[in-house]
Amino acid sequence: MELLNNLAHYTGWVYPNETVFEWSLLIAVYPYLTGLVAGAFTVSSLYQVFGFQRLKPVAHLALLTSLCFMVFVPVPLLLHLGHPERAFNSTITPHLTSAMAMFGFFASFYVVLLILETWFAYRPFIVEQAQKRSDLLGRFYRLLTLGSYDLSEKAMRYDRKWIFALAVVGIPAAHGLHGYVGFMYGSLKAREWWSSDLMPVVFLFSAIISGVSLLAVLYVVTCKLRKVPIDLACLKGLGYTIWGFIMVALVLEGLEFANIVYKGREGVDMIMEYVTGPLLVPYFVLQMGVGAITPLILLSYMIWRGTTGRALIWGITLSAALVLMSVFMMRWNVVIGGQEISKTGKGLLSYNPLIFGKEGLFMGIALTFAPLGALWVISRVFPPWEDAAAPSHAGAH
């Protein structure tokens, strides 16, 4: 019943049914999580498929990060549904005209793919641990071997082929998983702020920079925690990736906004009033200025000056953190922002997030950080570190 008290204040004219925000904080957190999943997988694929050798130190970390965040992806949705126990209706009788029906298929396909790719990547390690250990964890590893301890050259060839195939297929899968959300918003003609052909692409590119930034931050933090030197070439590779994709993301977001303003359709007055008013700080200052242009300048400077060493580490970490903030603001500005502009085109509402409760601020923060806890656990079972006492992985070509 908490939502009944959470009626939105509004100015101008809004439809009576609009005074409740249907898609709240959780629905802004959800694409953020899937974006991190897609972005992290992109890093892994840059190594596995496109041969960015310098990203090898983070390749397995990226895979595990993608998996950990993927596990938590359904949680905000289930918390938000009116009937979470009926959630499987969308897989039993998926309505194929609905973009949201795709979630079940993309999600299940992708999570299986991730599990498979992780399994293949860690197979030598699993086999080794199955043979070495005799505790409960040993039994776990032995189960995962599927009864085969074959690490012959022939088997490894098969494994490499599978890893490559999965990494290739995984790119559209991960991007589909995140892109369909962008498509859901972009294809909705009822809201002018959402309705745009560019929306899925904008979502995807900002997802990529968020995932890469997450990996950069995680890499630096884990190296520091493990007191291990940071591979500067790898970090710089991540930095280059962020740098390149920020530019594309900025161009796309800029194009989208420019289109709205230039086309000047019905309702554009309200959008302009909104963007120059309540959305000025979240959109122009936080998302664009602080979160995108600042890292872009910082990274450009570091690339131009050939920064290295501690300055590079700090610079890239800071840029990555700002990008992470910016991408969350982008999700917020789209999801919440779109609902703050009334469908009438004549009014604005204001969203006040709850603090507690299943759709509250605390829950949003918990959902964003819980995957990191899962990552910590899983890295004990499947260590992603290059320099650990792990056998040579079945790497890429």
């Binding site: 019943m1 939502l3 009944l4 009626l7 004219w13 809004v14 439809y15 009576p16 049914n17 609009e18 005074t19 409740v20 249907e22 898609w23 949705l77 938000h80 549904l81 009116g82 009937h83 979470p84 009926r86 959630a87 209706n89 969308s90 009788t93 998926p94 309505h95 005209t97 609905s98 973009a99 949201m100 029906a101 979630f103 086999v127 301890y149 074959d150 690490l151 012959s152 859901m184 909705l188 003609k189 009822a190 809201r191 019905e266 609902q339 469908k343 009438t344 085109g345 004549k346």
Partner: protein, 280 residues
Amino acid sequence: MKNDSKPSSATRREFLGKLGRATACVGAVAGALSVLPEVSAKTEAPSAGGSFPNKDYDWTKHQWAFGVDATKCIGCLRCAEACKRENDVPRNAHQFRTWVERYVYLEGEERAHIDSQQDPVNIEASGSEKEYRFANRYKDAKVEKAFFVPKLCNHCTHPACVQVCPVGATYRTEDGVVLIDHTYCIGCRYCVQACPYGARYFNEEKGVSDKCTWCYHRITKGLQPACVEVCPVGARIFGDLKDKQSPVSLFIRNNRVQVLRPETGNAPNVYYVGIDKEVN
């Protein structure tokens, strides 16, 4: 690293055996996949005599439509209250299956002042969120033009809400009414976002989305929707398009009618007479 150390002919036999079993499995799966959907589709109970949904009402014989004459509406809001009572809609001022909007142009102003039942001034005038009334706030103002516009679900022919439902909980019937299956809806609210008219809302108590049903349970019994029944001035018209003499057929034939937001391509089925440039 361990290796299999069997003779090659044994491994070949093993392999062929496994291949054979795998093929059989795949064949079984393929066969099952092709047969099962047809089997499952036939497991429903046979209909009674072919008339659906019940023996007294055959939905293939009707095509419902609605008319709104905004030149007649007096803004008494008996429709909004009757609908809530008829359909167990939450008694508050922010969830409606049907509502009325007031448009007032004051002298010297270009844009209309628009208000409806969720406006706090109107809530104060009625005294509670359970009863509805328009506050007479313009009685001392210089009003150039003013009118009331009843709104409700348009039961579109190409409904955006039906398109986006991920599970098939909302649908359009053969007689032209868009309904919601409250036992199947998962409560994702995608349909609420998709409706360009703001006709849908989420019922927190039931955990499902809800909207006007043209009182399907009444019209299939030969009654009028509750809002049409109680309107004292005939601002709401309902009827069967298949009957050329029904009130709505006459309404459409005898008036210059228009629909809301035709550019969406939804093809709404509520026809308006007497609305104005700012009504959307």
